[in-house]
């Protein structure tokens, strides 16, 4: 039936209009998974039986004319660092390879309440650390547009699943660009919400002050739909913002209002050297299109951009070194079989359980926090973080949104940067600042390189003004077909 080609909203409406049953949608999705997943390897766990059972219940509800949620019958994929009760949550790590959480993350609870159907858990860089989705203990995911290339990371599985039509919506997590960068590399929509807009309860922490859960979707309207479900205050997350009342945000109403008179800031620092020529050309074209549609562009400066990566790679590993300390072989997760005392149990469980990138960051963070170095590294990074935030505050006095490429380069070959972590870290150069400042950002498909690799356009917005960036994104999308250009797998 090729139902998988539709967007989530289209499918939802078809299900509600009884044009198709939820069960048929799920079956068709799994058929699609059976045919392309062996090449892509986006999933770590598939939940076919529970998904079908859930679909059956929704069909029953619709048949009986009962009240039905906003995600009625939509198959949804979840990044495997978001807790799902009764379904393994591995973080793509050997250390959690057998961990099944006894509770649902806040976002999962919301999806279930709105009748969404969880079909599986997607691959990621171990503990969300990486920009290529190659750091998974269970093997890499492939980019649907070119199977020899990476899908980007760390939410590579979630982005690839959407790009290859193996799910209608997926959830990713973004600590330094982990939703936007893979969305860009896979040619799909990826939204990182404002810090505090979506509860982190149940997201296995990488760097608590930077992590946010967000949707990866086929188009902008689907992203708005998912935000409508997952955003909002959660008393279980102290950093979740009380004042942000998602139910009062009109996620769809202004979506089609266009960009007339809107001021778009173009930060000169984001168009410096080192950006792939095809990408900068494409992004300038995109800016031109938005101007044609009525937006005004202004030149702005984010002077502390050059310190973004350095700051990020102090703060994120520092928090990670603490967040990942609980994986010690004592309470849950992997425990070495060969140990003599407590200390050797710790050492060996962690040595055997964590992959090289995770170890690298734990060591970095432990060093940065240790006495004698704290002031020089961690404390200084916090101060620079404040300067970066101030840059954005200043810029947003003039501009309503800020535009830039999402990634400086298109999807690269697998293995190409694996031995050079610093090269890999530079993939986040356009995205990390938004996390440091806590502002929302979206990446939308905005073109292709000469070698037919997707290009992503990043739109950054003021805190809690997801509505505005979604509107800009939707305006662009309405005029272009990039998001409809499917990879041939």
């Amino acid at each position: 039936m090729e139902l998988y080609k539709h967007t989530a909203l289209e499918i939802r409406d078809m299900v509600l209009d009884k044009k198709v049953s939820s069960t048929d949608v799920v079956k068709d999705t799994f058929k699609r998974i059976d045919s392309v997943e062996p090449k892509i390897k986006a999933y770590l766990t598939l939940c076919k039986e529970t998904a079908l059972a859930q679909a059956g219940k929704i069909d029953e509800k619709i048949r009986k004319g009962e009240k039905i949620g906003q995600l009625a019958g939509i198959p949804i994929a979840i990044k495997d660092n978001i807790s799902t009760q009764g379904i393994k949550t591995t973080c793509a790590s050997k250390i959690l390879s057998n961990f099944t959480p006894p509770y649902d993350a806040y976002v999962i609870k919301r999806i279930k309440e709105e009748d969404g159907i969880i079909i599986g858990k997607t691959n990621l860089d171990e503990f969300a650390m990486g920009s290529s989705c190659e750091n998974s203990a269970f093997g890499p995911t492939h980019n649907p547009h070119d199977l020899s290339r990476v899908p980007g990371g760390s939410s590579g599985g979630s982005a690839a699943a959407i790009a290859s039509d193996m799910a209608f919506i997926s959830l990713g997590s973004d600590t330094g660009g982990s939703i936007r960068q893979p969305a860009a590399l896979c040619g799909v929509v990826g939204l990182k919400p404002t810090y505090g807009a979506v509860s982190r309860y149940g997201l296995v922490a990488f760097a608590s002050s930077l992590d946010q859960i967000g949707p990866i979707t086929k188009d902008v309207r689907d992203a708005a739909l998912m935000m409508n479900v997952i955003a909002g205050y959660d008393p279980q997350d102290s950093t979740s913002v009380k004042e942000f009342n998602s139910s009062k945000v009109e996620w769809f109403k202004r979506l089609e209002d266009g960009v007339k008179g809107l001021k778009i800031g173009i930060p000169k620092e984001y168009f410096a050297e080192g950006i792939d020529k095809d990408i900068s050309k494409s992004v300038y074209q995109s800016i031109g299109l938005l101007e044609k549609l009525g937006a005004k562009t202004i030149d702005i400066s984010l002077p502390h951009t050059e310190y973004g990566i350095a700051t990020y790679y102090i703060i994120a590993p520092s928090e990670a070194s603490s967040n990942l300390a609980r994986y010690d072989g004592v309470h849950y997760g992997y425990r070495t079989t060969d140990y003599t005392d407590l200390m050797s149990m710790y050492h060996k469980s962690r040595s055997e359980g964590f992959g090289p990138e995770v170890k690298r960051r734990i060591m970095l963070g432990t060093f940065a926090l240790s006495s004698g170095y704290y002031d020089a590294y961690y404390l200084r990074a916090l101060k620079v973080r404040r300067l970066i935030k101030n840059d954005f505050d200043e810029a947003f006095k003039k501009a309503d949104v800020i535009l830039s490429p999402t990634s400086p380069i298109p999807a690269f070959k697998m293995g190409e940067k694996l031995d050079d972590p610093l090269q890999m870290y530079l993939c986040d150069v356009m995205t990390v600042s938004a996390n440091l400042a806590g502002i929302p950002g979206i990446s939308i498909p905005s073109g292709f390189t000469k070698s037919k690799l997707p290009v992503g356009l990043q739109i950054l917005g003021k805190p809690f003004e997801e509505e505005t960036i979604l509107r800009v994104a939707r305006t662009f999308e309405r005029e272009t077909d990039y998001h409809k250009t499917k990879p041939v797998i």
């Binding site: 949550t89 959690l96 509770y103 309860y201 997350d237 070194s321 300390a325 010690d328 926090l369 704290y374």
Partner: protein, 490 residues
């Protein structure tokens, strides 16, 4: 050369909140292991802490009662280290910005019959943190009489993990083990009066680490200190400090250095011993807890806490003296424990007999039986004690019978009247039933009678005693005396 002891105390108090510090699990002592846990206090991946408002309210009470400056901006930090009883492998604590600092506590000192003096001990800081779980290292005895051997594994009980802890750090202004003892007593009293902690060392709701150093008297610079950890009674704290002070002084006198280390108090041998040396120094790598937002303590909140503050012991003592016209000594005894003061004020303090019962036989019976006042109060509610006083006032029983009756009240939970009636303990004042007993006593004590008649009038006391004994304590001593005198003088 004279030496001076300098002691600083770190006290950890478990707050008796309904739930734990960062989750909704019940905060309760003595439950089946691992039954009071949830993903949050188990440190499961993905969980987040949420601050317990009640714990913070309690902590603020303590800060205010200890005369601290309360900072309007405070935050939590992570203290990172690996311990198998700490599920997250970091403790949420407060590092550079505790909510309360620079306070003081007055302690009362009595030495060698000198009058009571007061000394003010500075409080460096008060902060909130979470407790860890508990490790159990099972041991078995293979054969009778043999040494116990450790089984090759350890068990973890996480019921205690996440229980709110208040850490109170004194300034190094305590100069003797006696002062340390008085400090702990005063602190415990205040905390109990604040109704924020049981302060029960045996249950671990009050724990104390001590730092002690010795320096030549008059020196400004502190000597090298040793830390003594995990001492589980006030008496042991004192004993450990006495020992440690002597050990360090002797080292200094011999010109040997004191090593900075952590020591343990060995109760059996009554010595402090070095703890197994640590493999490396701890670097806790503190940093601000990113899962919690800073806490803003505004005037409104503080006002609310002040409004709900229970009366502090000193205030209460002053009020009792004024309100009931009782002596300072009596007041001090009646208020030594909050439970006792509450008990007294719910009735007994108002009548002299009931008050005397509390100061006398109640305390005596509690000491003899080694029970808590609370247990006494549960079995003998204040109205029952008042009724006993009434029986005495109405001379239904002899005063010497009161101890027996109270003992039976405590055993059975019955009222004094029920016991007196049931066991026939009423005072006998009826002359016709007393006369035969008296005559019998006169007959059997010819020598004493002769002494009396020979002019040794005090001998009558001995005869009264005999009569009381023969009547099993029930005879009205006044009547007995009258009757005896009448019979002997005739």
């Amino acid at each position: 050369m004279d030496y001076e002891i300098v002691i600083g105390l770190e006290v950890h108090l478990q707050l008796k909140t309904d739930s734990k510090m960062f989750c909704g699990c019940r905060n309760k002592f003595g439950a089946e292991p691992n039954t009071l846990t949830c993903p949050v206090c188990l440190g499961m991946p993905g969980i987040l802490p949420v601050i317990n408002k009640q714990a913070f309210d309690y902590a603020l009470r303590a800060g205010l009662a200890l005369n601290c400056k309360i900072d309007s901006f405070t935050k939590f930090d992570r203290k990172n280290y690996f311990y198998p009883d700490l599920p997250k492998n970091y403790q949420i604590s407060q590092y550079d910005l505790p909510f309360a600092k620079d306070g003081w506590l007055d302690i009362k000192l009595t030495t060698d019959n000198k009058p009571l003096t007061t000394k003010r001990i500075g409080i460096t800081r008060v902060h909130l943190e979470e407790d860890t779980g508990k490790l159990i290292h099972p041991e078995v005895r293979q054969e009778a009489g043999a040494e116990k051997t450790q089984l090759g594994y350890s068990l973890v009980d996480l019921n205690r993990a996440g229980v709110p802890l208040l850490e109170i750090v004194s300034k190094p202004e305590i100069n003797s083990p006696e002062e340390a003892y008085a400090y702990l007593g005063a602190l415990k009293e205040i905390m109990q009066y604040l109704e924020i902690s049981d302060c029960d060392m045996e249950k671990g709701s009050l724990r104390c680490d001590t730092n002690l150093s010795v320096r030549p008297k008059g020196d400004k610079k502190l000597g090298t200190k040793a830390e003594i950890k995990n001492i589980n009674s006030f008496k042991f704290v004192k004993n450990a400090l006495v020992y440690e002070a002597k050990r360090q002084t002797e080292l200094l006198k011999k010109g040997e250095p004191v090593i900075q280390e952590t020591r343990l108090w060995d109760e059996k041998e009554e010595v402090t011993k070095p703890m197994r040396s640590k493999e490396e120094a701890h670097d806790y790598r503190y940093f601000p807890e990113p899962d919690l937002v800073p806490v803003i303590i505004d005037a409104k909140w503080l006002e609310e806490v002040k409004k709900n503050m229970p009366e502090l012991p000193e205030t209460r003592r002053k009020r009792l003296i004024n309100q009931y016209q009782i002596s300072e000594h009596e007041t001090n005894v009646l208020t030594q424990e909050k439970a006792m003061a509450d008990y007294a004020e719910s009735g007994p303090v108002r009548t002299k007999t009931a008050r005397n019962l509390m100061l006398g036989i109640v305390l005596q019976i509690i000491n003899e039986r080694k029970i808590e006042f609370g247990e006494f109060a549960r079995k003998v509610p204040p109205e029952n004690l008042l009724e006993l006083a009434e029986q005495l006032d109405k001379k239904i029983i002899v005063s010497t019978m009161a101890t027996t009756v109270l003992g039976k009240m405590l055993d059975s939970g019955k009222t004094a009247a029920e016991i007196i009636k049931g066991q026939g303990l009423e005072q006998v004042s009826d002359k016709s039933s007393l006369e035969p007993i008296i005559k019998e006593v006169i007959k059997n004590n010819a020598k004493i009678v002769a002494d009396y008649k020979g002019g040794k009038k005090t001998a009558i006391q001995s005869l009264i005693g005999q009569v009381m004994k023969a009547s099993r304590g029930k005879a009205n001593p006044q009547i007995v005396k009258e009757l005896l005198a009448k019979l002997l003088d005739n």
